[in-house]
Symmetry: C2
């Protein structure tokens, strides 16, 4: 005999992203700010001037992608248990992508899930990690291999924090903004062509457009079964570049910028993008001093590296190919010759 | 400015529980059976006669509640990464509650969530852990303090596995069945009074009733914000008993049996249950040789221990009090005197 466990229902994980000067926040429950040693040095004073909580704790982890691991998770959990955090307590992730991803992950597993809020402090995390609910950590097998889909209760984006952001990291964030515009929003791309993101009002509008674009994609495909993969535009090539350069030469967003240029070459090869369109995208990237070229030393090795992505479901390659500006296609099984033709343009 | 991230949608986590001889199962994907050293020795041959998979791996953890921890999680994760499990792979939890809870938890965090199936081999896990999606592990701070709500894709309950179950463990499962009947289903309780669960057909029907009862509760309150707490009937007292006896004297279900009797005394004290009803419940428990008495050595200490439950949201006590047979109330702030009156009946 069978019993059907009926668990079909409406789940509301909606939340607000506030793009503005951080408002005064007050929480009538145990609250922990999870941050790193660097961000806390720069901005914790500002944050503490804005936040009140019944009981407030600060938990700092080391700064850097290499600390996005189980040890940092254990460290945060230990602090929460020590301070008797319960199911009603709150976590605030205050930092860049690493802090946000770890904090969200800890929130998802602590007593089977507690509330968390994101206050991202880098441009990249403001436009990217603030939407989508991807949380997680790395391990020796790769990036983000352990984690959960878990949504924050609120996100506060305050461009004040970007004042201390190194120029290269600002550029890395811009690459993701360009990615969002090229793949889904032609008008937004034109806005980027005609305005300078170093102006605060322009930046706020761009963050808003980025966040809205990503939100629309994610709400159609939360668990990345289809459309959401289009947000990997530039990343398929970019990951190989990051890997070949041991994650030391380029910031993630910088390798994505190069990857975008490579993906555009592929699009041109497939007759989906004009020389002119590719040039316009490159021009925007370069106006923020983003790298747009990379010398591939060994084309065979570069090609083989596409298959090393630990998350790939099978052995067919998937490329995210822009269809002009403002539209995108997810294409499987592109002819190996075509890919080689693109890669050889970068061979040096 | 604000952007509302609209994530309200219909989520369907429904699945079937099959209560029958295990059917032949075939999976066209990488599959790992997670089990323990004991269950694999007893029943893995039977299971392997029924399961085919594209690639099949067996992962065994140590047997026992003390291995429901992060080390076992790491051990399983390591095996999955080693064998390059991907987002499309499958886990099968094959064992009692510990194996089921760990397997579900690992499935929830591996690459942000992969499918899992439960094949519970103890009566307790068949009637209890098979419904509800609670997964997790223990740590030095307490039980199930790290975990996730994560639903299986299917559950197969085969009473064949119970043939090797020690008599005391069978009784421990019966205590949970009695709990389900007393709190939510008077007819089901009468069925238990008039039938012997040691008969296989009776047992299957009782499992079906239990599972249906729990499913109805869980579907109304998946995340235990209210009604679901009623399933802790007998557990508030039971936890203290388990704790006082260092988890060595009684099996979990046995301490629940004593806890049920204590909760019934409280119900009588509040005028919600008759002497006769309490007697009938006790009689059913005793017919499976379950303990129904416990000598409280220190009433003050017993009372204080109620407040140690790590999961309690605040400092008010909550008791699950049956309202006759087949109905239940969740009551906060019962007069301390009333609780003492009940505890003193067990003082010895």
């Amino acid at each position: 005999m069978k019993v059907n466990i009926e668990l079909k229902k409406v789940v509301d994980n909606s939340y607000d992203i506030t793009i503005d000067s951080l408002p005064k926040l007050e929480f009538d429950r145990k609250t922990a700010i999870v941050t790193n040693t660097k961000v806390s040095g720069l901005h914790l004073g500002y944050l503490l001037g804005k936040i009140k909580a019944k009981e407030l704790y600060i938990i700092t982890i080391q700064d850097g992608e290499e600390y996005k691991n189980q040890e940092s998770v254990n460290y945060i959990l230990e602090a929460l248990f020590n301070h008797k955090f319960n199911r009603n307590s709150l976590l605030i992730g205050f930092g860049g992508g690493v802090v946000g991803d770890i904090t969200g992950y800890v929130a998802s597993i602590y007593q089977r899930g507690i509330d968390f809020i994101q206050i991202p402090t880098t441009l990249l995390s403001q436009v990217d990690a603030s939407v989508g609910g991807k949380t997680g950590i790395n391990n020796k097998y790769g990036k983000n291999l352990i984690g959960a889909f878990y949504q924050p209760k609120a996100v506060y984006i305050d461009s004040y924090f970007l004042k201390t952001l190194p120029k290269r990291e600002f550029g890395a964030g811009v690459a993701e903004i360009v990615k969002m515009a090229v793949t889904f929003n032609r008008e937004f791309f034109e806005f980027l062509e005609n305005n300078d993101l170093r102006d605060d009002e322009v930046l706020k509008r761009a963050i808003k457009h980025s966040v809205e674009t990503k939100a629309s994609v994610v709400s159609q495909d939360e668990k990345e079964k289809g459309l959401r993969a289009a947000l990997n535009y530039g990343h398929t090539f970019g990951h190989v570049i990051e890997n070949e350069t041991n994650y030391t030469t380029y910031l993630h967003g910088e390798s994505v910028a190069i990857g975008i240029v490579m993906a555009n070459e592929l699009s041109k090869e497939l007759g989906m993008m004009s020389e002119d369109e590719a040039g316009r995208i490159k021009k925007v990237l370069e106006s923020y001093d983003l790298p747009t070229n990379y010398k591939i030393k060994d084309v065979d090795r570069f090609y083989d590296a596409f298959f090393l992505d630990k998350k790939s479901n099978d052995k067919t390659l998937t490329f995210i190919v822009p269809n002009g500006i403002g539209d995108v296609k997810i294409i499987k099984d592109i002819d190996k010759k075509t890919i080689y033709k693109v890669l050889e343009k970068f061979a040096g």
